[in-house]
């Protein structure tokens, strides 16, 4: 099996590949000709390192995420474990899951991530995988970073909310209710401030996705 390009994103190209007998995702932050070469190399390397670092710390905190297998900062390349399963996106569309139960699990998962001092930056139903054994895995930490700010945590929740409302309008209410219930319970005393920030963000009326 050779290298297969599966996605050309705004920041990186994703390849399905084989690596010492493992099925992997090879993520390459490709150079941009319009950036000065020094700036370009610095940005790509720094972000590669940050993504690897965040993935490792997330796993250490007990958040289900793919393993980082290899990193090449010069080429801004990451070799990440390939996760076999189905995206929540399709599972919701096919009515193949108990939305309430799964999103409660997502709520606990995101709370665990936030309590570990990490924010994901792009939580969508395309980035949540359900394995055959029922395990839930969070993917794509390309926009993730270290933060304990209420604002950044609220943005995480807001992005998930937006993605649910636009991609799964009928299931959104139930999913969000379950998510927020579990998340708020998990975050305990910290939830109040995050909730306030969430309301502010909503009032601002910004669209993260204009699709």
């Amino acid at each position: 099996m050779g290298s297969v390009l599966i996605r050309r994103g705004a920041e990186a190209d994703l390849f399905l590949d084989e690596w010492y007998g493992h099925r992997v995702i090879r993520k390459v932050r490709t150079p941009r000709s319009y950036r000065h070469p020094k700036l370009d190399a610095e940005i790509r390397a720094a972000r590669t390192i940050r993504e690897a670092s965040v993935l490792v710390d997330a796993k250490r905190a007990g958040v289900p995420a793919p393993l980082v297998l290899f990193m090449n900062t010069k080429e801004a390349e990451l070799i990440i474990q390939y996760i076999e399963g189905e995206r929540l996106k399709e599972l919701i569309e096919d009515h193949a899951i108990d939305v309430r139960r799964e999103f409660a699990r997502v709520g606990y998962l995101v709370a665990k991530l936030h309590r570990a001092g990490i924010v994901h930056g792009d939580i969508t139903t395309s980035n949540l995988i359900r394995r055959k054994d029922g395990g839930l895995i969070l993917l794509d930490f390309g926009l993730a970073g270290y933060s304990v700010r209420d604002e950044d945590r609220a943005v995480d929740i807001h992005l998930l909310k937006e993605s649910l409302l636009s991609a799964h309008p009928e299931a959104a209410e139930e999913a969000l209710d379950a998510f927020l219930g579990a998340y708020s319970r998990s975050m305990g005393r910290e939830w109040g401030a995050i909730q306030m920030r969430l309301k502010e963000i909503e009032m601002r009326g910004r669209y993260a996705r204009l699709g």
């Binding site: 920041e11 941009r32 319009y34 950036r35 700036l39 610095e42 926009l143 910004r206 669209y207 204009l210």
Partner: protein, 341 residues
Amino acid sequence: MLILGIESTAHTFGASVVEISPEGYEGRILSDVKDVYRAPEGYGIHPREASRHHAECAARVVRDALEASHVTMNELDAIAYSMGPGLGPCLRVGATVARALAVHFNLPLVPVNHAIGHIELGCLLTGARDPIVLLVSGGHTTITAFAGGRWRIFGETLDMSIGQLLDRFGRETGLTVPEQAGFGGPKIEEYALRSNNYIPLPYTVKGNDVSFSGILTSAKRLYREGARLEDLCYSLQETAYAMLAEVVERALAFTGRRELLLVGGVAANKRLRSMLDEVVGRYNATSYLVPVGYSGDCGAQIAWTGGLAFRAGVRVRVEASFVRQSWRMDRVPIPWRPLKS
């Protein structure tokens, strides 16, 4: 239909007569006259002084715009004015002039959002129909696209605009041009051409937003420490523009749009223009760059957008024609979009 547009949000007082076809996105700029306030060397715009300038030149500018267009007040269908956003004293001059003309000649008054003016004029002049818009000026730095009835903000600056970054750095280093209202952009662009030595400056993109205060602080400090000004100008442009280019890339990727429109005063910058030309290549998209002569503030942006609004039934009673110093573009309903094929 014939529309007189009056622009007075900041340093520029402009008047323009535009002809808009009764249907469809078609129009012609019949005249566009302006007079720009000159700040004293080393100073930025002073709202009261600028408003004084506008009050002094208003009558002449409007008269010249009418003469150049060969249109008389009685032939006009409406008067459009920049209701905001902008500097209060400056806005009030334009609004006063517009109200006076509307009352005296019994013409409808149409309020226009200045930022949307840039966008719609850009679309008219370039042919872009449904673009990702990068609006870069002293007053704005936003990445916008039309969705759900409004021009939505995909990303924006978290602190100062790119124009303010250029002006402030220009002022600190003596690179402003009084004849060009104290702008830093043109001289910074000139100096940048004399270097390709990149000095690392803070590169700050947070999600879909950008922040320039790090670059400004760093560049000012490096200047005081003796870094070569040409190198700093070069590095400042490369860093700040690359940040904007990155958010533009994200917008193109996420929304799937295939058009990129560049508007606003800073759209005149050649480096930014060439950079965005390169960005779109990766997405099989087309870049539409507003003609340099219409990138800055002008009456035409108000007249054209006023025409679109007027055709769609937008009016304001003189008694209610206040100005709005803050007026986010995503608060403005846009009844003339989406454009019919």
